[in-house]
């Protein structure tokens, strides 16, 4: 009886998933141009946030480098597209993603000796440095004036319409979610979560901490790089200031959705797309104030985000990452004791 009920439940979840995906892919026919544009931006944010989710939520590595990685990917993609018009756009995305992953390794190599808040500060510093470097490299990037980003092209075909960009982004979102979902249950994903839970215990299981952490960094950076290229396709003009302001909203997306939950960033991004639309009128100059308050309220009252609220309704224990417990854990408990 129980198994029949379980099967029924599973089928229901599958059906609702299918429905969501169908509605998602049909949105160009349902929404106005402007709303579709918002959905594309939302989808891009899902991809970056998912990268950050793997870094913080799975592996417990507090990286604030995501905006820098995203900018790097966007600029690399745009520069490649400007100088080598013949490269098809999927290849450009892949190249930009890989270049960003390599950058992630380079930055991760020294930074990953640190952990917790120190790692956060170091990566934040690197992220700012990337913006500076981009602004200095004026011949390639246009410096502070920014640069024009070409639309995705495949041979002589150009996909300039919002609708086309939407489909490119949507396919990426689905791929990323599938990969992360698979990762969450895989040997590697488990090892990353083990590192988050307890580094000493993890290394006594035979996990090579440094190598796994570098993998996490490369993966997160790769997703940020891809998202960067998609972002450049959407807004068609690059300026470092766009990315500079992205840190707080990005972190908020993660906390709102539920850190460490595979689909957390999806819910977070949806909410964060709606929030400015509602509050925009009165608070458009002070959005960071709204973001800040929301963040504090969620960290204190709902550390597992929307997922946690849902868990509380179902009265089960959330498996994801408890940001509040992490932030308020005593340093002595977290550090190397003995």
């Amino acid at each position: 009886m129980v198994s029949i009920q379980n099967n029924h439940k599973k089928n229901l979840t599958r059906l609702s998933f299918l429905a969501i995906i169908i509605v998602y892919f049909a949105s160009p026919f349902l929404l106005s141009e402007y709303l579709l544009y918002l959905v594309v931006l939302m989808s891009v944010m899902i991809i970056v946030a998912e990268g950050l989710n793997v870094m913080i939520g799975f592996a417990g590595l507090f990286s604030f480098g995501q905006p820098g990685f995203m900018a790097f990917g966007a600029y690399i993609g745009a520069i490649l597209a400007v100088h080598f018009k013949w490269i098809p756009f999927p290849l450009i995305m892949l190249m930009a993603g890989s270049a960003t992953a390599v950058l992630g390794l380079i930055i991760g190599f020294p930074c990953l000796r640190l952990s917790g808040f120190y790692l956060a500060m170091a990566t934040f510093g690197f992220s700012s440095a990337i913006f500076q470097l981009i602004n200095y490299a004026k011949p390639f990037t246009g410096g502070y004036e920014g640069m024009y980003a070409p639309s995705p092209s495949l041979g002589s075909l150009h996909f300039g319409s919002t609708r086309a960009i939407f489909y490119i982004t949507a396919v990426c979102v689905v791929c990323v979610l599938v990969v992360v979902r698979f990762l969450a249950g895989s040997r590697t994903g488990r090892a990353w979560k083990a590192i988050r839970d307890d580094e000493i215990a993890a290394s006594s299981m035979g996990i090579e901490l440094r190598r796994e952490k570098l993998k996490v960094f490369a993966f997160g950076a790769f997703l940020a790089g891809i998202a960067g290229v998609l972002y450049s396709y959407t807004i068609r003009y690059l300026e470092t200031s766009y990315f500079d302001q992205m840190g707080l909203p990005l972190f908020l997306i993660l906390v709102l959705g539920g850190i460490g939950e595979v689909y957390g960033p999806v819910y977070g991004s949806i909410f964060m797309t709606i929030l400015p639309q509602i509050m925009g009128g009165k608070f458009s100059q002070n959005m960071s104030l709204v973001y800040g308050f929301t963040l504090v309220i969620f960290v204190l009252l709902a550390p597992h985000g929307f997922y946690g609220i849902w868990y509380r309704i179902k009265k089960t224990v959330p498996a994801g990452f408890n940001i509040r417990a992490y932030l308020f854990k005593k340093e002595s408990q977290r550090g190397n004791k003995d």
Partner: protein, 236 residues
């Protein structure tokens, strides 16, 4: 099987181990006893490579492993069950066990071992899909030991398995250890609970501020005046 030869170890300038020599023969249960801060945990950590030693050598099956990294040491078959039940609190019981077998590739063997190990600990079988942080202290310790066994250890290093547990549970866990030993796993046990440890050991060392002060069979130590007074609390 495992030999520590005059191992010295430092935390900064503070010496934690001073020329400690310990030998663990195959198939035996050897224990290291001692008070807080005597260097017991340091001893285990140096074996599993979590701390680098300054002098001496650690031989495992004849090879020096004192310069080997922790992951490689696990792969060689030296598995540590860390102090304070360091399970992975946000993973499920089943996932914790999977983590124990991280270094192994043969899925079929892993599954077989899991069945066998869950046979020792029926309570874990029952709670397979529960998040590990929801287990009781005793269950968490059992999980930590079961997870250690999942790595298919040649030698199992246990750091204070009795820490913070009710006497009944300690008794239960120690009887598991005897069972595991009888099935052929060599065990090196570090304990503050000297009485319990002596009951199940084949050979024991007493560690005092980084030095081995006495060693011998449990009978010998149980009859030693100093051990009786300092560690067993028996007045002569």
């Amino acid at each position: 099987m495992l030999k520590l030869k005059e191992v010295s170890c430092f935390y900064g300038k503070a010496q934690a181990l001073n020329k400690v020599s310990i030998s663990v023969p195959k198939g035996k249960l050897v224990s290291i006893l001692g008070a807080n801060g005597a260097g017991k945990s340091t001893c285990l950590k140096s074996i599993s490579g979590l701390i680098k030693i300054k002098e001496g050598a650690i031989l495992f099956q004849g090879h020096d492993i004192s310069r080997t990294n922790p992951a490689e040491i696990v792969r060689k078959g030296i598995v540590q069950v860390p102090e304070g039940r360091m399970i992975f609190p946000s993973l499920t019981v089943a996932e914790n066990l999977e983590m124990g077998a991280y270094c192994r590739r043969n899925r079929k063997e892993i599954r077989k071992d899991r069945e066998r190990i869950l046979g020792y600990f029926p309570i874990l079988e029952e709670r397979k899909n529960q998040i590990a942080s929801t287990l009781s202290g005793g269950e968490q310790q059992m999980l930590a030991i079961a997870r250690g066994l999942m790595a298919k250890p040649k030698i199992l290093l246990l750091d204070e398995p009795s820490l913070g547990l009710a006497p009944v549970i300690v008794e239960e866990i120690f009887s598991f250890l005897v069972e595991i030993k009888n099935e052929g796993t060599t065990i090196l046990l570090v304990e503050q609970n000297a009485f319990m440890a002596l009951k199940i050991s084949d050979y024991s060392y007493v560690l005092e501020t980084g030095n081995i002060s006495i060693s011998g069979s449990p009978e010998l130590l149980l009859n030693n005046k100093r051990v009786r007074e300092s560690y067993l609390g028996i007045q002569n």
